[in-house]
């Protein structure tokens, strides 16, 4: 039903991550108005107050701007968008690194694998 969530993180933070990802990936573009709380809550099949809380979180990060009664819009500030994009990439990298280290890989091995999997012609 609706969006899927896992157990150990509050649903509102998981929703915030999903909408943040939608903004970064361009599903919602700069200055675009996002759907109203009720519609998003219905889509996600969550309590409207939980959705409200997720959007407030994204407002606090500057990714969404509330315009009174009109609705919420994606920021047009390219710096905030770029920062969010890097932060999301950082989170993926952290998870990847800690996963590999848990399996006992050393840093140089991890880098080697990453280059081979990604683009072997890549030069630094």
């Amino acid at each position: 039903m609706g969006w899927s969530f896992h157990g150990n993180l509050p649903v509102y933070l998981q929703i915030a991550s999903k909408i943040r990802a939608d903004i970064i990936s361009g599903k919602y573009t700069a200055e675009e108005q996002i759907p109203p709380v009720r519609q998003l809550a219905y889509e996600a099949a969550v309590n409207p107050n939980t959705m409200q809380r997720a959007l407030a979180q994204l407002e606090a990060e500057g990714l969404l701007i509330a315009r009174g009664t009109v609705g919420r819009f994606v920021t047009e500030n390219p710096e905030i968008l770029a920062k969010a994009r890097h932060k999301a990439a950082d989170e993926l990298i952290e998870a990847f690194l800690s996963g590999c280290r848990e399996m006992g890989f050393e840093s140089n091995e991890i880098m080697q694998m990453l280059i081979e999997k990604g683009d072997p012609s890549c030069q630094f």
Partner: protein
């Protein structure tokens, strides 16, 4: 402002005490899960709020008003068992509800019946148990009430219909209204709740709070927390 206020409630059946000095206050505009093991008094409490049972002692107020005809107008109640007249068709039932409740919205009811592919000409008698439950919930949610009391709304329906029912609750829910849901299927409903109340035996409030905060506080879902709090030791 609280929509529901229960003070020093006592209720027993014969020698069996069900609620002992229960106190609870429910804020307006929220979806609340009233959760507890079998026999803890959830249905008893709900029936008292509807005026179907009278407390042995204590006081219940809905929107500040003592239980009576005036509060019954504000309440839309889904009982744990169906009470529908088996000889009526679904369409006759809509007419019946429309005559009975001034806040009943027949268009909303017909839309939901249509979404769930329930034949409005069918007699209640011919419907399966799960479908009867759906019809009854549709009737209850088609009213514009201030307080909805849903006693086990999804117990007998299949998972796909359960999803539809929860979305129906979300869609038709007016932010001014309050919904109290009792259920054992916590995993299915926790995402639609604002607040939860864990009731122990005797109607004691063991734990309550914001449903989503449980994950941050305990690192587990409300369903997992319930299983832990009410674990039976072998």
């Amino acid at each position: 402002m609280s929509i529901l206020e229960c003070r020093n409630l006592y209720k027993g059946y014969g020698n069996k005490k069900v609620l002992e000095n229960m106190n609870i206050s429910v804020p307006s505009g929220k979806i609340i899960g009233l959760l507890g093991p079998n026999g803890c008094g959830k249905s008893t409490l709900i029936k008292m709020i509807c005026g179907l049972l009278v407390p042995d002692a204590g006081e219940i107020r809905v929107s500040g008003i003592p239980i009576g005809a005036e509060t019954n107008r504000l309440i839309s109640y889904l009982p744990e068992r169906t009470y529908l007249n088996a000889g009526m068709s679904v369409t006759e039932l809509i007419t019946y509800f429309q005559e009975f409740y001034t806040d009943f919205d027949p268009h909303r009811a017909r839309q939901m019946l249509d979404d769930l592919k329930i034949d409005p000409q069918a007699k209640i008698r011919t419907l399966s148990k799960g479908t009867r439950e759906k019809v009854q919930l549709i009737m209850v949610m088609s009213r514009n009430a201030r307080l909805y009391l849903l006693d086990e709304p999804i117990a007998g329906v299949d998972p796909a219909s359960r999803d539809y029912i929860l979305q129906t609750i979300l869609q038709n829910y007016n932010p001014e209204a309050t919904i109290i849901i009792t259920t054992h299927l916590i995993y299915d409903i926790e995402r639609v709740l604002d607040e939860f109340v864990f009731l122990g035996f005797g109607g004691e409030v063991i734990m309550s709070g914001n449903a989503d905060d449980v994950r941050a506080q305990y690192g587990k879902t409300l369903d997992e927390l319930f299983r832990e709090v009410f674990r039976y030791v072998q």
